[in-house]
Structures are given as C-alpha cells and as structure tokens.
C-alpha cells in the first residue's frame, strides 16, 4: 500500500466512480490500473475517474488512463475523467491524450439523476 495514494470507489447504478487522491506515479499507477480493471470486470457501463484529489500525475498514470479508455472503447462502455489540478491538465494536454478522453468538471454531469449512491467495493 502507498500511503501517498488512495482510491475510493462508489457505485451509482451501473456507473462506478473512482475518487483518487495523492500522487500518481511509477509506484502508485499499478494500484490504479488494478482498481480500474476491477471496476470494468464488475460490469460497470460507465467508469468515472475523479482526479480532483490528484496533486501530481506522470506518464505512467497517463498510460493507465489510456488503457482504461481503450478497454471501455473495445467493450462498448464509457470511461471519463473529472478534471484534476493544473499539473494534471498540463500533462494531459501536452501529450495530446486529453483530446482522446471525455473530461468533465464533476461526476454528476454524467450520472443519471435518479441513481442513488451506494458504497461499492
């Protein structure tokens, strides 16, 4: 476990929201990759990765986002990001990765109004 990186998951109907905080780098990215895979494995139709709590992201984090995007695309599901701090935005922009992904300001923009939040695992 990395103390400088945490993932909280909430499910809303068939959507799964992963709220991450801390620093996303070579050491912590594998954990995020694993959690995203599990969300897709569990059958989520929409996976939202909330980056608002991320203070730093590097290219290994980017690759995890790209592979989640790829998996969603291939299985006809959706993957979206909630916009992070300036550093995160900058990394997404200067690599061109931002153009490939759906980016919103808050998860609520994508969640159906009637869904009741419930804690997932």
């Amino acid at each position: 476990m990395n103390t400088d990186f945490t993932v909280e998951e909430h499910t809303h109907g068939d959507a799964s929201v992963l709220r991450v905080s801390g620093e996303l780098d070579l050491r912590t990215s594998p954990e995020l990759e694993d959690r995203l895979s599990r969300a897709f494995d569990a059958g989520a139709e929409l996976v939202i990765l909330d980056l608002r709590g991320i203070e730093f992201m590097d290219s290994t984090g980017l690759r995890v986002l790209l592979s989640a995007h790829q998996r969603a695309h291939e299985s006809g599901r959706r993957f979206a990001l909630v916009r992070g701090a300036d550093q995160v935005e900058r990394v997404l922009t200067l690599t061109g990765v931002r153009d490939l992904l759906t980016v919103v300001d808050a998860p609520e923009e994508l969640l159906a109004a009637g869904d009741q939040p419930s804690d997932g695992a």
């Binding site: 620093e23 780098d25 990394v91 690599t95 061109g96």
Partner: protein
C-alpha cells in the same frame, strides 16, 4: 538533374535540401522556387523561420503567403526536438504532400543549441520515410560558421547553391555528424547530486521543486521542471539499472538538471514521434515539451540527459 525517385515521386535530394543563401534576394528566391510549384498545385505548405525572416517574407511575398502555415522558429525551435513532432502533426492533419521550409539554425544560436539543431536536421531524414514531404532548410552562408555549413552538407541529401540543387557528397543517411555527440562538459563544481532508486521518486520531486523555486524559476516552470525530472528519473528506474544520479545546478539565465544512468536509448527518434511513445518515449516527449533544450548522450555504456530551463 537525376535521379532515382522514391515511391511518391520525390527525388531523395529533393526530400531534404539545404538552401545556402547570402542576402535577402537569394533567400526570397530560394524559398519561392521551392514553395511556388506546391502553391500552384494547391498543396499544403508550411514555413517555420526566425521572426525577422517571417517579417521579410510577409513584406515581400504578401498575399502569396495566405494559404501557408507560418511559424516563428524562435519559438517552435527553441528546443529543436519539438520541431519534428510539429511537422508530423501537420502530416497527420493535412496529409502529404507537404512542403516545409524550416530554418532551425540561425546566426547567434549557442553552440549547444546548434549541436542539437544539427542533430534534428539529421533526424529529419528518418522521421517520415514514406511520406511525400519536401523540406528546405535555409543556411546563412555569410554569418554561420564554416563547420555549421559542413555539417549541413552531412545532414542534407541535397544542397542548393546559386539557385541550383545538387546532391551532397557528404550526406550521411540520417547519422548526426560526430560533432553532435561530443561529451557534455562536466557539471560545475557547485552542482548538487542525488543518487536515486524507485523509492525516491516523491522525495526527488520535492527536492527539485525547492531548488528550482529558490533559483528564480516561476511557479509554472517549476512545476514543468519537476514533471520533466520525474520522467527522466522514472525512465532510469524502469528501463535502465535500478539506480542513477540526478544533478542540479544553475547557470547564467537557466536552471540545468541532468540524469545519468546505465541504460541505452536505441531509438534516435525517441521523444519526437508518437509511435515511439511506448516505453520511455512518452516520458522523453514530455521532457522535450517542458524544457528549452535537451541534450542526450547515449551509448551501450550509459546515458546522460541534460535538460535546460530558462529563467
């Protein structure tokens, strides 16, 4: 003129030409002769030259420039490793054919910048092997050093002199001239160094951030430098030996960082094309975008990457 043509009909010596010019008239004539046929056919043309040269072109060629994408090479080519990515994105966007005028070497550039711009010129020969892209690179024969002009003959299959294009006998197939790979000068005595391994990433980011901030880089650039250093260090611990050395120093007008490890970067275009973004390519791409000059010295004995950020 000759010659063997490539699949798309462009002769090899036409694909990458040095324009040796002296004075504005030769400059304008050389560029016009290169771009006019493409403009007449309605094909895409882009020009990236130093700001004052852009102004000259605008005043002399006027409306003729309307369909042309114009870029200031002072900005685009500050780090010469950013030029190939921009041309590749033009090819992605508008497809080939493309005619591109690029002047990355101008009088007054520092020796380090000229070395890296010369490396860029060599790599152009490898960057888009199958695309119908013609490149013309103006060289000011009055003001540039003789060695720069010799190197241009090494990096360009064709050279235009006195308005005639001829094959360059010194052309070396995309291998940079040996002068590009002279060892980097030693770091100054006041450089501070840190040995590192994977567990140190977070600590190193904080270390670089503090030093960069107290050296006078503004907040935005500090963040960029921390991001760049993190990529360099991550490449080391992921690809090379499990450890390396990070150095940091300041020089007049800039902050310099250097990462040394036992790895070898085999792809000369790493960090310059998206296809090479697997493995360490994406990290190097980011470093090139975030720093003003990046010097790479790599061999089977190890790699040193020195990145400069202007204050």
């Amino acid at each position: 003129m000759s010659l063997t043509t490539t699949a798309h009909g462009l002769a090899p010596i036409e694909a990458h030409q040095a324009l040796f010019y002296s004075g504005d008239d030769e400059y304008l004539a050389g560029i016009s002769e290169f771009i006019d046929p493409a403009l007449d056919r309605g094909e895409p043309v882009a020009i990236a030259v130093p700001g004052p040269k852009l102004a000259l072109l605008r005043s002399e060629l006027g409306d003729r420039l309307a369909p042309i994408e114009l870029l200031d090479m002072f900005e685009l080519g500050r780090n010469p490793a950013r030029i190939i990515p921009v041309v590749l994105s033009m090819i992605d966007r508008s497809g080939s054919p493309l005619r591109y005028v690029g002047e990355p070497i101008w009088p007054g550039r520092s020796p380090e910048e000229i070395r890296e711009a010369t490396r860029h010129e060599a790599l152009i020969n490898l960057a888009w092997p199958d695309a119908d892209v013609g490149v013309l690179c103006p060289y000011d024969t009055e003001l540039l050093d003789d060695q720069v002009l010799l190197d241009a003959q090494h990096t360009h299959p064709g050279v235009v002199r006195d308005r005639r294009l001829a094959a360059s006998s010194a052309y070396a197939d995309g291998r940079p001239p040996t002068g590009c790979d002279v060892p980097l000068p030693d770091p100054p005595p006041d450089a501070v160094a840190q040995e590192f391994e994977i567990a140190d990433l977070r600590r190193l980011r904080a270390w670089v951030g503090e030093r960069a901030a107290t050296s006078g880089l503004d907040q935005d650039r500090v963040e960029g430098l921390v991001t760049a250093v993190n990529e360099l260090v991550s490449n080391t611990v992921r690809h090379a030996a499990p450890h390396g050395t990070l150095r940091f120093w300041t020089a007049p007008g800039e902050v310099v960082v250097e990462v040394e490890d036992e790895g070898h970067i085999a792809d000369p275009l790493a960090g310059r094309r998206r296809q090479a973004m697997g493995a360490g390519g994406l990290g190097l791409w980011m470093v090139n975008q975030l720093c003003d000059l990046v010097e790479v010295r790599t061999s089977v004995d190890g790699t040193t990457i020195r990145a400069h950020s202007r204050l």
